[in-house]
Amino acid sequence: MEALKQTLKQQIIEALNLQDTKPEDIDDKAPLFGEGLGLDSIDSLELMVLLERHYQIKVEDPREGRKILQSVQSMAEFIQSKQPA
């Protein structure tokens, strides 16, 4: 789980071109949208692309996506829940 979260942070930074952000700047539980990193709805679509490209997980409904993409923690939990044990 820890390793997954680290990888995710790196992937988020790359996908969204967060130039001045380092993985350690992103708190696992901090909200990604609004307050936190200041991401918006287009970023949320970009993060869904990330999930599909890197983890083969397709999120169809943008509203469902918002719940999954709340934080690095929630993303990691979602990815784990989708992967075969």
Binding site: D40, S41, I42, L45, M48, D61, P62, R63
Partner: protein, 404 residues
């Protein structure tokens, strides 16, 4: 006093008909144009419904009177068919009699044809006829093809403001007339389906896999469409001079911006509210004189919420019948504003209010529901037509019965 701007001719082709009359027939018989594409090469061929014009490019070229002539993209052919009907209806045979402008609208120009050969175009190893499509990549190509074929001899230009493009073209044409820079301008837009736009809207996750459901609680996105529509706008003095038949008046318009987000409207519908309010003020009509609103109603989750709130803010508890005709035509992007402006004229001419198909459940955020039946024998004298687009671009038109 500034000239009044009158509509003297209309022409169109959409998935529900290749003439204005054929469109009216489909609207009144509730025949939707949605189905699966025959002409686009995409993995979504049998997944995402579209409202495609039922003719191949070869058939369209024959209908447009340019059979076998190379270089006409589908965008140009659709436009050519629509403008020829508009000219005929307005009784314009000789362009030389009166300088005639052409304000066209397009979102992706000739992409429908260039996307098929783009990778050949950029490959130095490849040579061939496809090189002639290079100049059709931009939005001006279709405009000039149509202008040259029909002998347009006034202002020629193209507007691209995404889904509100042709509403803005109508507005610009009307302003050129009001300011005395032209007496006759043909305005509208043309749009052909492309893999580019299907994939684009799909990447935004706002295409419904079912037929779109505007203003429904369970709406899940739009369906793309294609087509072309043009309206002949003339100054009142030119109409009087020629004794032309007037179909309706373009009595008000407003373009306002959300200044909110690249692709989403503000939740309270600020831009839509302002556009409708200002357009109505310009037309000199009050809210109780509006009998019908042809809404933008794309059936995306944010649009319908925002537009619905704007309707409630403007009309309070007296929201007039409203419907989205996009379940008939799909969202024809640059052509949508002009298609729906023509439907607004038809509503006035034929005393009709068109149904909003596929509606089942009221949105919980709103107290209003769209009109789902075809209403006949309605005294429709003033209609608002909305077109909203990316970049927060909102355009509202007010179309009124011409009382002379």
């Amino acid at each position: 006093m500034a000239e009044r701007v009158l509509i003297t001719g209309m022409g169109m082709i959409t998935a529900i008909g290749e003439t204005v009359t054929a469109n009216l027939h489909s609207l009144t018989h509730q025949h939707s144009g949605l189905g699966f594409t025959r002409f686009i090469d995409t993995i979504y061929k049998e997944v995402l419904p579209v409202a495609e014009v039922k003719y191949s490019n070869e058939e369209l070229a024959r209908m447009a009177g340019v059979p076998g002539q190379p270089g006409y993209t589908r965008t140009s052919l659709l436009g050519l068919i629509a403008i020829q009907e508009a000219l005929q209806q307005a009784g314009i045979r000789d362009m030389q009699q009166e300088p005639t402008g052409f304000i066209n609208a397009s979102t992706v120009g000739g992409m429908c044809d260039t996307e098929k050969v783009y990778f050949d175009i950029i490959d130095p190893e490849k040579e061939g006829d496809f090189l002639r499509y290079i100049d059709t990549l931009d939005c001006a190509d279709c405009t000039q093809r149509i202008a040259d074929r029909t002998g347009i001899n006034g202002f020629v230009t193209t507007i691209s403001t995404a889904c509100s493009s042709s509403a803005n073209a109508l507005m610009y044409g009307a302003r050129l007339i009001k300011q005395g820079l032209a007496r006759r301008v043909i305005c509208g837009g043309t749009e052909a389906l492309t893999s580019f736009t299907i994939n684009g809207f799909n990447s935004l996750k706002n295409i419904d896999k079912q037929a779109c459901r505007p203003f429904d609680h369970n709406r899940n996105g739009l369906n793309l469409g294609e087509g072309a529509a043009y309206l002949v706008l003339e100054s009142e003095s030119l109409v009087k001079q020629h004794g032309s038949r007037v179909l309706a008046e373009l009595s008000g318009y407003c373009n306002s911006n959300e200044a909110f987000h690249p692709t989403a409207p503000s939740p309270e519908g600020d831009g839509a509210y302002t556009a409708m309010k200002e357009a109505l003020a310009m037309s000199g009509r009050s809210i109780d004189q509006v009998q019908y609103v042809n809404v933008h109603g794309t059936a995306t989750w944010p649009n319908d919420l925002s537009e619905g709130r704007a309707l409630e803010r403007l009309f309070g508890s007296e929201v007039p019948p409203f419907s989205s005709t996009k379940p008939f035509t799909g969202h024809a992007l640059a052509a949508a504003g002009a298609i729906e402006a023509i439907y607004s004229v038809l509503a006035i001419q034929h005393r009709l209010i068109f149904p909003n198909l596929n509606f089942a459940e009221k949105m919980e955020e709103l107290s209003i529901v769209p009109e789902t039946r075809l209403l006949e024998e309605q005294a429709v004298t003033t209609v608002i037509s909305n077109s909203f687009g990316f970049g927060g671009n909102n355009a509202s038109l007010v179309i009124s019965k011409y009382e002379g």
